[in-house]
Symmetry: C2
Subunit: 373 residues, 2 copies
DNA sequence: TTGTACGCGTTATCAA
DNA sequence: TTGATAACGCGTACAA
């Protein structure tokens, strides 16, 4: 049905092996035969059969990217950055016909099962690399299953990169997940300083004079959620403010868990207000939640930041255009994605210790101000 | 290195062919052997070799999705919806081990060359389907090359779906693009009523009493840009307002072309103000551009909508949280993506005429109001 | 520098 | 209902 290597070889008067060598550029080929082959390729409009070459070479041109939801700009920006490094015109030499990788984007919806399912699917595709983005569930059982899958992928030659996620060995209970077999080197990880960023953000509110601060946390038992919440409480504890001691009724009362979506922010803000009418500030798990909270507070007749301050996290593109411009913490999503992409291709050296933490910078804007006297 | 079909067959005491049949479920297999095979699969942790089966079956489990930029929520939302239909747990029967498709997301950056490059790459992968999202350049040469590539994909059994894009035969000059060969059926297309939406939006401003309305258009020569601009001007012309006649100096003066990004909105708004200080309203090509415009206008000391009205297009999630909430036109991005995904899998019947136009509804919010008397 | 020959792991055809 | 067996198209030792 379609043109094959053999057809090109016949047309160019060489063997199929030679055509393959020209196309892959891995072996020396005489200049004259090379151009003859390329002309034949052009004339026949030959297109390599990806599956066939993947089968023979035991590796494909596909890079898996796991995200919670590609519609969420947090992941969209990272995925875009990853893609910019692995796809055509990443910034390699122009028109190299070989080594054009493509990204398979996998929406896990934050579900551990789906995460595992997708990793199996990527194993099946003999993916060249896999990038796991964002935080994950802290369930030891899941972490164990995850580690097993990743080890298997790496055993098959798939590079694994964690982008915005802790290395698997850093389980909350300090124990290495999974059985204590020889696990080889841990996957390289790029993490965000969620703890530090959250601590500085809440510190900023404390500096402004706030003392009754509500927190809209993300889904419980997820790394990102916990790190941000821990940072928040560390700042409170250091200042001796309410809610700084985990486990105390006061801490529980000022914390509402929800999703990372706008509706959770809306509902959560109302709940916080019900629990503590004297609230002067609300810190949200991310920008999207913060905007939902703003909407709820405004509907309650509260002005931001006049009556109540609100802060987000991530500094997504829309944060600056919110009403008022959102005080938040900037995460280098693009840089992280780009580095993850290069690491996935082996085009960048893994950092010492195989883990790097990227900074999280406080962005003070207009949604925070001193509390009313 | 890894477990193969033959290994499973040996363990289960059957032939490789039988194992294949069990796994694909296409042929009748006795219940007892079936369970024996499945047990062997489990025990050996067998994972199908995707490339091998793609080679043998001459089609892969991959679906290509072309987007301008996955970091832009316009495309992120569509991609997410497409993905929800083709990936695991789309909404098929749970745990079907076969037919798990995966999406390859291709960032074209709006570049025609990259679009073609990616289509070639997808041809190489023997993709099961390809979804092209968003508008495209209206250059006849590009359209011709595009049509050729798509025809070739379809000839190879790849389903092609256009999502948010006109069918290729509807070239602006009315001529069918490409040579007049037998082109088979045109790809199925889902389009947005950009023209009608834009007409209603500008009509809304006219109804409010605005007469000097500036327009921040997207990149020239792109379908989406032109349709929205045409709709805008049609409304103006119908009302006898300034700038309604294309080609007139007045129309040119009140239109600024830029990108679909925030910076273009910022710069464009300032330029419009320079050209026409008496402006009472600005209509932007999309929500992102509108937010950039808002920022610029506010910095100029203008209040929205008190001093000047601003409107966007698309109704992306953040539009409602803008300052003030943005009047815009809602495009059913999610629905379009979901339908495109089902069409790509052949799980939904193609519409009569192979093209459907989805509605674009006016969303009046707080960023538009009557002009100052 | 080039050609030969075999293997990669599945699917599909044809018998049984 | 199941089993041989021949493709599928390319990469790569090995030989020349």
């Amino acid at each position: 049905m379609s043109v094959t290597l053999a057809d090109v070889a016949a047309r160019a008067g060489v063997s199929a092996a030679t055509v393959s060598r020209v196309l892959n550029g891995n072996y020396p080929v005489a200049g004259s035969t090379r151009s003859r082959v390329l002309r034949a390729v052009d004339e026949l409009e030959y297109v390599v059969n990806g599956p066939a070459s993947a089968l023979a070479a035991a590796t494909s041109d596909l890079v898996g990217v796991l995200v919670n939801d590609i519609a969420d700009p947090f992941f969209g920006v990272m995925a875009s950055a990853i893609q910019s490094q692995i796809g055509p015109d990443g910034d390699h030499d122009a028109e190299a016909p070989h080594g054009q990788k493509m990204a398979i984007i996998c929406n896990t919806g934050g579900s551990p099962e789906r995460e595992l399912t997708y990793l199996t699917l990527l194993l099946r595709q003999r993916a060249a690399a896999v990038v796991l983005t964002g935080g994950t569930v802290e369930d030891p059982e899941h972490l164990g299953a995850l580690a097993t899958r990743l080890r298997r992928l790496e055993a098959g030659g798939t590079r694994v990169v964690l982008c915005g996620r802790q290395p698997l060995t850093a389980a909350p209970d300090g124990a290495a997940p999974g059985p204590e077999e020889d696990q080889g080197p841990a996957p390289v990880a790029l993490t965000f300083d969620n703890f530090g960023g959250a601590r500085r953000l809440t510190g900023h509110l404390l500096d402004l004079g706030h003392r009754r601060i509500g927190y809209l946390a993300g889904p419980a038992a997820r790394t990102t959620t916990r790190q941000r919440l821990d940072g928040h409480r560390a700042a409170l504890a250091a200042a001796g403010a309410a809610g700084g001691e985990p486990g105390t009724p006061e801490a529980e009362r000022l914390t509402v868990h929800g999703g990372y979506d706008r509706a959770s922010g809306y509902d959560g803000a109302l709940e916080l207000l019900r629990r503590e009418p004297g609230l002067t500030a609300v810190v949200a798990a991310n920008d999207t939640v913060a905007l939902g909270a703003c909407a709820a507070l405004r509907e309650r007749g509260l002005r931001i930041p006049g009556d109540i301050s609100v802060a987000g996290f991530d500094d997504l593109p829309f944060a600056i255009d919110a009403a008022p411009a959102l005080t938040t913490v900037r995460i280098p999503l693009h840089e992280a994605g780009a580095r993850a992409g290069r690491l996935a291709l082996g085009r960048e050296e893994a950092p010492a210790g195989r883990t790097t933490t990227l900074p999280a910078d406080l962005m003070v804007r207009a949604s925070t101000a001193p509390p009313r006297p």
